[in-house]
Homo-oligomer: 533 residues x 2
């Protein structure tokens, strides 16, 4: 029975309360140094919370003996499955007020076991929260209701195998519980890769990516995991759904697209045939600086519309560039990268740089994989992976630090970004009495729009951090709604985004989704409160 506290691949301990590996957390001294950057934070960090201090009672349900070997009620396991990894979750853990702790954690190893657990839960009014790597930042893996007798966290990470590989067709049948690195380990000997690298890559699973329509490696064209799905296997309380393995089909509405983004409310994704890539052999990347952010936006739009299809095309505003060390002079930085398994990519990079220069950009010399990387590119990459750990360090200093992301058409982008900067800053000032830092980057770009990603940082008031963030988030949701920007581009809806999602989703689609939910999950046990009621 894995307690999920130790990663079997790395033998490193996963933090139950914060991001990633416990040994990668900033120590007290680094926390203090981080806090010193944000006026008004605490003098010393909040202590790291202990599971033994949590109010973990006896489980309110007992699994039948036939399933008992799959289920644990160990406090450490239950604590580690109580919440995701949003700022809101981390601060609740730090303040000793986590969400409702699940009664039980199950680690099924087969579809049959998943089905049996769902049957038992349905018969006994037990809520089931499907759980992959637990990296949700939208309240997607906790229970907030009070209408179920007990709560079972259904941890899929014991189903982590690549079961079949079709080398000629470049695809593989993969169990949903495989965490990113383990999945890639199994594909690497075949010269293949899924090449899906969200920021949470080490701490999230294929099933989680599929259930939340995760954003991956590519900044253009195939930005979401959706496009790499050949077929899905989903265990629902009303039966197993297995779509055919097809390169494409026009036979009715896509069955897979109903389950993609269903966030565990319609069924449990247990495996998928995924389209894979050859490992890239040609790479070229560089950065471009812009004095004026609007010029940078115009350049990015032109590149997105050029058909050049960069793999990386991320625009950092001055604050974001400064934070990540990509620039120090108030300029915006565009990180550009091209790659291909078969053909040289320097010409495409050159063409993209020509476009950027035409909009006032100053390009660094280009680099390929052999050469030392552009320092701005390297700085951004390192900061990208370290960021969630630093967020938790700041949380320990009493700061309110969180991100939110969205997508909108180009005509709305400038006003949207301005409005977020103005109105979210005003909300933060109102909530804290202090000016907030608000940075923006574009993570994914399209011919018709872009996905802005915002970071907010401001000192909180001790004990009021959750309320402060909720106030700021409400203002953000309001801005996004008024500008018709999506409540999320690739972080899913969960429970935290429900207010915005309910406004955004067309009502007839909500009716269809509720009806589908009733048909597939008649006892309403699957991830209650997520997406629909």
């Amino acid at each position: 029975m894995p307690a999920a506290a130790t990663d079997p691949r790395t033998s490193r301990s996963r933090s139950w309360w914060g991001w990633g590996y416990a040994d990668a957390h900033p120590d007290d001294a680094e926390c203090a140094a981080l806090g010193a950057l944000l006026p008004g934070t605490l003098a010393r960090p909040l202590p790291i919370p202990r599971v033994t201090d949590l109010p973990i009672g006896r489980p309110a349900a007992t699994p039948p003996s036939a399933l008992a070997h799959l289920v644990t009620s160990h406090p450490q396991a239950r604590a580690a499955h109580a919440m995701g990894k949003a700022y809101r979750d981390v601060i609740r853990a730090l303040r000793g007020q986590p969400g409702r702790i699940p009664d039980l954690v199950a680690h099924p190893t087969t579809d049959h076991e998943v089905a049996d657990l769902l049957d038992w839960a349905g018969d006994h009014g037990v809520a089931v929260i499907p759980f992959g790597g637990g990296s949700s930042v939208v309240g997607g893996v906790e229970y907030r209701g009070d209408t179920h007798r007990a709560v079972l966290s259904l941890d899929l990470t014991s189903m982590d195998r690549v079961l079949e590989i079709d080398r000629a067709g470049r695809s593989a049948r993969i169990q949903a519980g495989a965490l990113g690195p383990l999945l890639e380990d199994q594909l690497r000997p075949h010269g293949l890769t899924l090449r899906h690298f969200p920021q949470s890559f080490e701490f999230s699973t294929l099933g989680g990516w599929l259930a939340t329509r995760a954003g991956g490696h590519y900044a253009t064209v195939h930005t979401h995991i959706d496009d790499f799905v050949q077929s899905l296997r989903v265990v629902t309380p009303s039966g197993v759904s297995t779509s055919w393995r097809l390169p494409a089909s026009g036979a009715g509405p896509s069955p897979d697209r109903l389950f993609l983004g269903s966030e565990g409310t319609l069924g449990v994704i247990t495996e998928a045939w995924m389209r894979l890539q050859e490992r890239p052999r040609h790479k070229a990347s560089t950065s471009v600086t812009f004095t004026h952010f609007q010029q940078a936006l115009d350049a990015v739009r032109a590149i997105a519309q050029s058909g050049l299809a960069p793999a990386n095309c991320r625009l950092l505003d001055p604050g974001e560039a400064l934070l990540s060390g990509a620039s120090h002079d108030g300029s915006s930085v565009l990180v550009l990268g091209f790659e291909s398994p078969t053909t040289a990519v320097e010409d495409r990079l050159t063409d993209a740089l020509d476009i950027a220069r035409g909009h006032g950009g100053h390009a660094q010399p280009t680099t390929d994989r052999e050469a030392p990387a552009d320092p701005a590119v390297s700085a951004w990459r390192s900061a990208f992976l370290r960021m969630p750990y630093l967020r938790d360090g700041l949380a320990r200093m009493g700061a309110v630090v969180e991100t939110f992301e969205t997508a909108a058409t180009w005509d709305r982008i400038p006003a949207l970004i301005d409005a977020v900067r103005t109105e979210v800053a005003a909300a933060a000032l109102k909530a804290t009495g202090r000016p907030a830092t608000i940075n923006c980057r574009l993570t994914h770009v399209y011919p018709d729009g872009a996905a802005p990603y915002f970071t907010v940082a401001v000192a909180g008031r001790p004990g009021a951090e959750v309320e402060i963030w909720d106030e700021i988030k409400a203002a953000a949701t309001d801005v996004l709604h008024r500008h018709r920007a999506s409540v999320t581009h690739h972080h899913a809806v969960g429970r935290d985004h429900r207010p915005g999602y309910d406004l955004q989703r067309p009502e007839p689609f909500a009716m269809a989704l509720r009806a589908a939910k009733n048909a597939l999950d008649p006892h309403d046990i699957l991830n209650p409160g997520v997406l629909i009621d």
Copy 2:
């Protein structure tokens, strides 16, 4: 009140019983010449059927006076809306046994009028068959039941305007009833194009493409209309669904993807924001011949996996190449084309030709748009657009001539194509006593598979053509099912593909779809019998 018999753009008459424009039909002499190619066909063509010979009775329902100006019961209009344009439909018209003739044909001009018509139909038990260009080849636009009091064909072609253009974001809000040429006429002054060119381009509408997930111009990557949808507006009996205009979103399952492919069963698509392209300025195309079909398949797979993304990549087997005049020596022909609005494409064509040569292909000299086209490419293009007219000419000669298409992963493609050739030929022989011609082409290719498209031609027995085709089709459906090949890649399900679709669709998805249908169309008036019961 348009009777839909004359195309207002071209002032040419549309055939009520056969493909396209009446004046483009082969005359009796050409029909006879076509028939001479197929042993056992009639000595002279069946006469062109007349509407006045049809059993068109009084309409079984009368619209309320407030809607009367939108509705006609003119026999010509009713006949023209009785069926689609499958071989099965054409032969039924020729034999004077069309499907049930709708009682009424409505031409709404606004969403309100569509909603009012649905309200009236729901209150009076009238089936509503959404109708675009009427080019369905799967029985998608006729009524086959007997549980509704009357049948209303809801013709959307009076809603044919491009309402808004976002030039910077390269997108446009377009009414669903716009036929292909009219749609492109309105985009052309802006330098933009939807670039969606199904074989039915002149005779099908945006709404029809969306409702059926039509396959378009591109042979790789963005093969279906789905990828070009920014948002949809759908009038359902339970309200209007308007999704936000977004470049991408991860907020729950995609609302648009539920309506894409819903074939008029969940609602009436009345408009869409569509992603557009710049008009291409660089083009290069050529053809490659292969002595061995399997080598051609390997070449096509390698090109599909190369990332070169040809716009055209169609492989004709020897029979198909002979039929279209692309080759006369028993070789297979690969038609390759590249295009771009911004950059030269010759290098990509060169790289693709290198791959083809590596698999035994013999390449013709490349051509660009200024130069005279490769004769094989030209021959194929002309034959492509003329083919449905020739089919109808052969139908008049008593031949059984029809196509069907599918998609499968590469590992299944060779055995699938062999099995179709063997088993469908056997079924045709059994049904007719004559050997059938069965040709194959790949219309769309993917890194993980391809979409084969088959043509069957054999002399029928007078009066038994429908039964013969149904027998052949049943054999084809059985082969596709056993090889796990989709019942359709881009022709939709309609009524004709229901047996195969019901086997292919995962049962839990069927449950969800039925539930969604009950929620959105509680009186079951929308396109009854299509997709679900």
